[in-house]
């Protein structure tokens, strides 16, 4: 079993990255290499389905990150195998189709199949995962591969924008899903679905917490399955080549939300929020999608919006499902796969052979493509729910269950029923339009001009899907055994046998009424030539999103400017204010409690306060004030160095003559150096200093900051001094310097022996400072010509150097 799982999942994962480079060797034929992946996966999954012993389940686990509770754990049960088979089976058709669709007009076939294969692997991983974190990992991987696939034709602006929208929406909702998963784990104690499903979720006090978790996870599902308000990414994702649309954006990836709802159904369906949330959102999306599909003219947009609508139908179905379990979810999903996959492929063939996407410019293709036309007729009939197709069965069952649900759910049920009816009518209209306007009627000159016949093999998958829709529609009992085998305890309720004819029931009457009403809508639309059909600006959520993105970018620019990040002069006050608020705020609070500042002042001055020191301190302050008030650079500098010299006086008073000497040396050298430097400055620089005066408010701020920081430091010094630590190591040095370090001057022994390592570091600092100065002196200076051209490129890229350019 492990081997089969590896073939289904591991092989495509490994094969995917190889296809990129292989594409350079094989060109477009690399598609046939990739074709092996879904074929093998389908075979392996079928074998697995036989081995698992359905309707039982099996867990296969390998350790990955056990310390975080994350393992490569796979749950093989009816649900996962059903979805996996849909993915791989659809994969076979789509890979086949893509091999004919992506002809030599396209480039980079290797990349395309690499993405597609990786996507398939990610999908299989998502549906097979038992560990919720593993599910999330693959879930995001489908998002990334979908991003790459949507942007495959990235020369188009629309592709890039569509890809970005899709990734941002699904990425964001994916993170919500992650949060939900983490929250479930925190109270459920495990990431493993098998464990959660077996033991159920804890009840009682955790109810609110789990409801929040459910909400987050469902938001994740809504994002992936393009439910309101996230629905707008899906139509824009249609910028991808058609095989991608058929595979990802109708048949598989967007169904992940449906899959997640199915997985969560046994866990959460009794929560109060489950039914209303799913039903209101999903059925609402259903109507919205259908209306938008009716108003679109682009072939793929029509299909995309109808997919949004159908996804709402599937998710809402789980919302209204009774607690004992749902019955026909597989039927609805399969039905959608048959007709929507088929319609996308048909649209792809039409686009491929005519180059036209707008339905208003198409027509009369029946004579040229009779097989495809027949397939389209069947698929459209399935979408409309005409009797004899799976669409009819699906609609019958849906109506039946909705009518049943109306009793327990009241308003919600009525709302759902109304939504389903409206959607069905609209669906009939645009299904009919899709078929008739493309295949019937006169052939417009544009089609005549551009048409080139597609290979028959390109039409084959669509024909196969249409055939399936008819066969299963006419003989629904064929579906019974597999659906029964795949049913899952907790999610499914054993269903009645499917039959074509249930007798004259309410559903049948409603169904017929819907068909008639839909036909009426279609006829009216044809009469008016669909002139009224345009998506109102108020419903263009994608445009809102893009506008939001633009505004957001502007906002960030504004914010960065406001935060002064671009103006060096303004950083420093920000930092000082922060220091004052944080450190000063705490100090003030702590001291306010103690009220002993004055005591310390008294003790501090009482202990050390002789008049000589006070005098020195007063002189230093005077010198500093002078440095601030004086106007000339030179006098300011001298006044500052007077303060420095006076500090040496302090050292002398503390009996540290060598420190005093050092200080004098430093002061002298600094003063001379700076004076020499200033002498070399142009006069204009000095004048400029005086002409610019900061505004008064700013000056007041600067002054208060200076005073504040000074005050804070003084307070801190006094505060720290109030109760100095006992047993300071400083007392140890004088006592031991002679005995241990064999030197009489403690300062010296500390500097060169006890803490000689510090001194080594400081010497290094001096050395580096010298090197830095040297570097500044030998710096490359941009010529005025280069300066005008603006920044050339990263500094040091060798671009500045004229020498490099000559190579």
């Amino acid at each position: 079993m492990t081997l089969a799982l590896f073939i289904a999942l591991g092989l495509p994962l490994l094969l995917g990255p190889l296809l990129g480079p292989l594409g350079r060797v094989f060109g477009r034929r690399v598609g046939w290499v990739a074709f092996g992946a879904p074929v093998l996966a389908t075979a392996a999954l079928l074998w697995l389905a036989r081995e698992v012993g359905l309707p039982g389940s099996r867990v296969i686990e390998f350790p990955w990150i056990p310390s975080l509770g994350i393992n490569l754990s796979f749950l093989l049960d009816g649900l996962s195998l059903f979805f996996a088979l849909v993915v791989s089976g659809m994969g076979v058709l789509v890979f086949w189709y893509a091999n004919f669709y992506l002809d030599d007009h396209y480039e980079h076939h290797g990349r395309f199949y690499a993405y597609l294969t990786l996507f398939m692997a990610a999908m299989l991983g998502t549906v097979l995962a038992n560990n919720l974190m593993l599910l999330f990992v693959f879930w995001e991987l489908t998002g990334i591969t979908s991003f790459l696939l949507i942007g495959f034709l990235h020369e188009e602006e629309s592709s890039r924008v569509g890809a970005r929208q899709a990734l941002l929406i699904t990425g964001f909702t994916g993170l919500l899903l992650l949060a939900g998963v983490l929250m479930v784990r925190q109270v459920g104690g495990s990431f493993d679905l098998s464990v959660l499903l077996r033991e159920g979720l804890p009840v009682g006090e955790h109810r609110g917490w789990l409801t929040a978790a459910m909400l987050l996870m469902l938001l994740g599902a809504f994002g992936k399955s393009a439910q309101f308000p996230f629905h707008f990414w899906l139509p824009n994702a249609m910028a991808a080549p058609t095989p991608v649309s058929a595979y990802l954006h109708s048949a598989t990836m967007v169904k992940l939300g449906v899959f997640l709802c199915a997985r969560l159904f046994p866990l959460f369906n009794e929560y109060e929020l489950w039914a209303p949330l799913l039903s209101w959102v999903a059925f609402g999306t259903m109507v919205l999608g259908a209306v938008l599909a009716l108003q679109s003219h682009d072939l793929k947009a029509i299909l995309a919006f109808s997919t949004v609508s159908q996804l709402g139908y599937l998710i809402g179905y789980y919302g209204l499902g009774p607690a004992r379990g749902v019955e026909y979810d597989y039927l609805h999903i399969l039905n959608h796969v048959f007709y929507k996959g088929g319609l996308f492929m048909i649209a792809g063939v039409v686009i491929h052979s005519t180059g036209i996407q707008d339905i208003r410019q198409l027509g009369g293709l029946w004579r040229r493509l009779p097989w495809l036309g027949a397939a389209c007729a069947v698929a459209a009939a399935t979408m409309a729910g005409v009797i004899g197709t799976t669409g009819f069965l699906s609609k019958e069952m849906m109506l039946k269950e909705i009518f049943e649900a109306m009793r327990p759910h009241g308003t919600l049920g009525a709302y759902a029923a109304g939504c389903v009816l409206v959607t069905s009518v609209v669906k009939v209209a645009f299904a009919a339009r899709f078929f008739t306007n493309v295949f019937l009627g006169p052939e417009p000159p544009a089609v005549k001009e551009h048409f080139h016949a597609p290979p028959l093999a390109l039409q084959l998958p669509a024909v196969l899907l249409a055939t399936a829709a008819v066969v299963f529609g006419l003989a629904p009992m064929l579906l019974d055994p597999p659906l029964h085998a795949l049913s899952v305890a907790g999610l499914h309720h054993p269903s009645d046998h499917l039959a074509l004819w249930h007798g004259v029931t309410l559903e049948l009457a409603v169904s017929t009424g819907v068909l008639l009403a839909g036909a009426g809508l279609y006829v009216w639309g044809q009469r008016t030539q669909w002139r009224w059909a345009r998506i109102s600006p108020a419903l263009r959520f994608d445009a809102f999103f893009e506008a939001g993105v633009r505004m957001f970018s502007k906002f960030t620019k504004w914010l960065t400017r406001v935060l002064q990040a671009d103006r060096p002069v303004s950083y420093l006050p920000l930092i000082l204010v922060f220091t004052l608020v944080v450190v000063g705020g705490w100090t003030a609070r702590a001291l306010a409690m103690e009220w002993r500042v004055f005591d310390w002042l008294a003790t501090a001055t009482g202990e050390n306060g002789d008049w000589l020191r006070a005098f020195a301190a007063a002189l230093i302050s005077l010198a500093v004030v002078g440095a601030v008030l004086l106007k000339q650079w030179t006098t300011q500098l001298i006044s500052l160095s007077i303060a420095g010299f006076l500090t040496t006086f302090y050292f002398v008073l503390y009996r540290a003559p060598d420190l005093a000497l050092t200080q004098i040396l430093v002061e002298v050298v600094t003063l001379i150096l700076v004076l020499v430097l200033l002498g070399r400055f142009p006069r204009s620089a000095e004048r400029g200093e005086h002409t610019w005066r900061p505004p008064p408010l700013r000056r007041a701020l600067n002054l208060s900051l200076a005073v504040g920081v000074g005050g804070l430091m003084t307070t801190l010094v006094l505060w720290m001094n109030a109760r100095p630590a006992a047993g300071r190591i400083g007392d140890w040095f004088p006592a031991h310097t002679e005995a241990l370090a064999e030197g009489t001057n403690t300062v010296n022994t500390i500097l060169v022996d006890f803490r000689g390592f510090d001194t080594l570091g400081e010497i290094t600092v001096l050395l580096i400072a010298t090197l830095g100065a040297l570097g500044l002196l030998m710096r490359y200076k941009r010529t005025p010509e280069e300066y005008r051209q603006g920044p050339l490129g990263p500094a040091g890229m060798g671009l500045h150097h004229p020498e490099e350019g000559k190579q």
Binding site: S67, L68, M133, F136, E140, L141, R160, A163, R164, L168, G171, L175, L178, A179, L182, M183, T556, K557, L563, Q564, P568, L572, L574, F578, V582, W586, T587, A590, M720, P724, A725, R728, I729, W732, H736, D753, R755, F757, G761, E762, T764, V765, I768, A769, L771, G772, G775, R779, K781, R782, Y787, L792, G793, P794, A795, G796, M797, G798, H800, E803
Partner: protein, 502 residues
């Protein structure tokens, strides 16, 4: 020979030797590369040793703690050493690929080695004042490198960097003075032992807040980060790679060390403040990134946003949160440096890194695109890349502690990170403007990409082998938080001076 000091000694001696060597030449380059490789080996060996053993301690000048200075290599320090050596090696090799020895600046390699010396010393030291010295070595080397190859325009951007860091150093010095006055010692282990009895003293909190400002400034925590985003972009790509990887992370490391090992653990107010500052950092950092329109600018701002995640983990202050922080550091350093290097290569190919004038890279150079995509998605935190696991662990801790707002901010920051990475991707890689030439003929890009590919491989390995990395991070976190064991290791070393003890 004591291994603990080697990570400082090797680069220092290398730097001095390089100064004497003088002119850049292939031999000089080879020597530097070998030395950097040796540093990596030493660091790897240290990780191996400290994973099972208590911290390695070396009393400098054979003076016993707390009188002399000790150098302590515990697992966290060893991990950081490994990261700094790895990044240094990768960026040095990248620099070799970028320019021939003929046009290499003779001071660049020695200064890089001095920078590494300072960084490594900061990781190893067990003494608050010596930490200050380490910062000085590191900062002065970084000032020198910042201005070394800058032109007249760039040099202006270096000034605020210098000014702000000088203020930071001054505050640090004040903090060290206060710490000595408060505890009577500067040795980490000694402070840890003495401070335990003083945890209800408001002065300890005041000191912790002051140190928070100082190290927050180094790490780039909101609102102290303004020096960073304008100064990093002026660096040459290889040096920027090293800076972006290591410098701010020294600040984060010191926060871990000081809050975890040195100061008492019950400073809940300080931790909460840190967590909320981190939340603000995440958001403001990423907003800044979106506001920029050139690759290095975007990446520079991202450093800050990511710092927010690490600091948030510190602020949440549980052993698992520390482990998450350490994991995040490991992931982030490699990803961030390699992204800067990818940015440098992209700029080489397009001859600019202004997004308005870039394009066609995905068509012409898919290898670079794959490298960028992997690292960018990792930075944005998409699974199963390395960035995801760090973020995941932080979210877990946040949810456990019911810090819903902070968790929400983290999620928001993640998606905005993704957004800004898509900005680069859509413009530079997918963009298809006719007039941007991709200089594929400039063969340097291929060799540069190979170096980056090595880093990306390591990054991928971290993501897929998260279990092993997490185990190491967990152990390092437990060690950092175990003050007793740290003090025991420091004081059990016999050396000259009284056999010390509190």
């Amino acid at each position: 020979m004591n291994l603990a000091i080697q990570p400082v000694l090797l680069p220092l001696l290398t730097a001095v030797a390089l100064l004497f060597w003088g002119r850049p030449s292939p031999g000089r380059r080879a020597f530097t590369a070998i030395s950097a490789g040796a540093q990596l080996v030493v660091a790897g060996f240290l990780i191996h040793l400290t994973y099972t053993q208590p911290p390695l301690v070396m009393p400098m000048g054979n003076w016993a703690a707390p009188y002399g200075i000790v150098v302590v290599a515990d697992l966290l320090a060893a991990i950081m050493l490994g990261l700094s050596s790895f990044t240094a090696l990768a960026t040095i090799l990248y620099g070799y690929c970028e320019a021939s020895p003929r046009i290499e600046h003779p001071l660049r390699l020695p200064l890089v080695q001095f920078l590494v010396t300072g960084i490594n010393l900061a990781f190893l030291t067990g003494d608050l004042f010596n930490l200050f010295v380490a910062f000085e070595v590191m900062l002065i080397a970084s000032y020198a490198l910042l201005t070394l190859e800058a032109d007249n325009w760039d040099v202006k951007q270096a000034f605020p960097y210098l000014a702000i860091n000088l203020v930071g150093s001054t505050l640090f010095l004040c903090g060290a003075g206060f710490a000595y006055r408060l505890f009577g010692t500067l040795n980490f282990a000694d402070i840890a032992l003495r401070a335990r009895a003083m945890s209800d003293d408001p002065r300890v909190t005041a000191l912790a807040l002051l140190l928070l400002v100082v190290f927050g400034l180094k790490a780039g925590v909101f609102p102290l980060y303004c020096w960073l985003p304008n100064s990093y972009p002026i660096l040459p790509a290889p040096v920027a790679g090293l800076y972006s990887g290591m410098l701010t992370k020294v600040g984060v490391y010191v926060l871990l060390r000081v809050l975890g090992t040195v100061l008492p653990h019950d400073l809940a107010g300080v931790h909460t403040l840190l967590a909320w500052l981190a939340g603000a950092t995440m958001i403001f950092g990423v907003l800044g990134a979106i506001s920029r329109n050139f690759i290095r600018g975007i990446l520079s701002y991202h450093i800050l946003s990511q710092i927010g995640f690490m600091v948030l983990a510190i602020g949440l202050f549980t052993p698992f949160a520390f482990a998450a922080c350490i994991f995040y550091i490991i992931h982030h350093i490699i990803v961030k440096s390699s992204l800067f290097l990818v940015g440098g290569t992209a700029a080489l190919l397009n001859r600019t890194d202004n997004l308005d004038r870039m394009g066609n890279l995905w068509r012409q150079t898919p290898l670079l695109g794959v490298l960028f995509l992997l690292q960018a998605l990792s930075l944005a935190g998409l699974p199963p890349l390395s960035g995801f696991w760090g973020k995941y662990a932080i979210l877990v801790v946040g949810l456990e502690q019911r810090e819903f707002v902070l968790v929400g901010l983290a999620i928001l920051a993640s998606i905005l990170t993704l957004f800004s990475m898509l900005k680069i991707w859509n413009a530079a890689f997918w963009g298809s403007s006719e007039e941007c030439e991709v200089c594929v003929w400039d063969w340097r890009w291929l060799r540069m990409s190979r170096v980056v590919a090595g880093m990306v491989a390591v990054s991928l390995a971290i993501g897929l082998g998260a279990e092993g990395v997490f185990r190491v991070a967990n152990r390092a976190a437990v060690q950092v938080l175990d003050q007793e064991a740290y003090a025991r290791a420091v004081f059990s070393v016999t050396a000259k001076g009284t056999p010390a003890g509190p």
